[in-house]
Subunit: 138 residues, 2 copies
DNA sequence: CTTGACCCTGTAGTGACTACAGGGTGCAGT
DNA sequence: ACTGCACCCTGTAGTCACTACAGGGTCAAG
């Protein structure tokens, strides 16, 4: 393992990231621009692979790009306390919980609207009625 | 009530929609272009108000623009069965439930990662470790 | 007759990619 | 040597549903 030099396509396969996405990460400065081969191909080393894997896992956990930027920069300061890391993770957890609450409320509302539908004609449709304002469309 | 003619700002206040958003809905064909005053101001009637309220409620329930387009067009065919309406609502509910499941899984994962953090130094941080790939960054 | 709140169009930005178009590189097979 | 073909390169524009200007015009009150 750890062959040392990989093309962008290799990185793409290994990390499950699209080639365009890797180039995008480079453009926004999340991944460093790697050295190039004679033919101008990107040649990635193991460090780049590790960094990209880190990014992908953080993305899969729903962290935003800026949060990942912060996490990456913290992960290099080995001696410092990980309180800042903890804070970012907790902040993200709070965001997730907020979205979760919103979505659950949404589901309830949708569910109750749908259950009222007797599937007659549209003129009597409770779904349309729930959306329409009080005095309109008659 | 139902004064008959309103400016875009009135519509904005009554429906809680930003002025720019209303113009955006017109641009994408969700709202018809209203008649204009002598000074080239948009002059909305009650029907436009009703339509915009409908759109806002549907957006609040998380329906996408294309779904709303379909719902609006169905809502005008009073005599047809509301099965199609029901189908759109159920499809949306399924999407919401999918997102909900994803977010709940995410919350679990985040939660368990955060609980492992002993808040020592970054070198020992379980959160960073959970993100980093097996053999990297040493 | 000026001030300030409102309105107009058109364009560009958001987040995190994704999808081309139009070209170059590298290697296997013939 | 030549021909495919898969891969790589840059740069730009598109996605969704808005949002935010810039640079101007309109209108009613004081």
């Amino acid at each position: 393992m750890s062959a040392g030099v990989r093309t962008i396509g290799d990185l793409s396969k290994v990390t499950g990231t699209k080639v365009e996405t890797i180039r995008y990460y480079e453009r926004i400065g999340l991944l460093a621009a790697p050295p190039r081969t004679a033919g101008n191909y990107r040649a990635y080393g193991d460090a780049a692979l590790g960094r990209l894997s880190f990014i992908r896992r953080a993305r899969d956990l729903g962290f935003g790009i800026d949060q990942i930027r912060a996490l990456l920069s913290l992960s290099e300061k080995k001696k410092r306390s990980c309180k800042a890391v903890d804070a970012i993770a907790r902040e993200h957890l709070a965001e997730v919980e907020g979205k979760l609450a919103d979505l659950m409320a949404l589901r309830c509302e949708l569910d109750s609207i749908i259950r009222q539908c007797g599937c007659g004609t549209i003129a009597d449709c409770r779904i349309i009625e729930a959306l329409a304002p009080v005095n309109t469309g008659r």
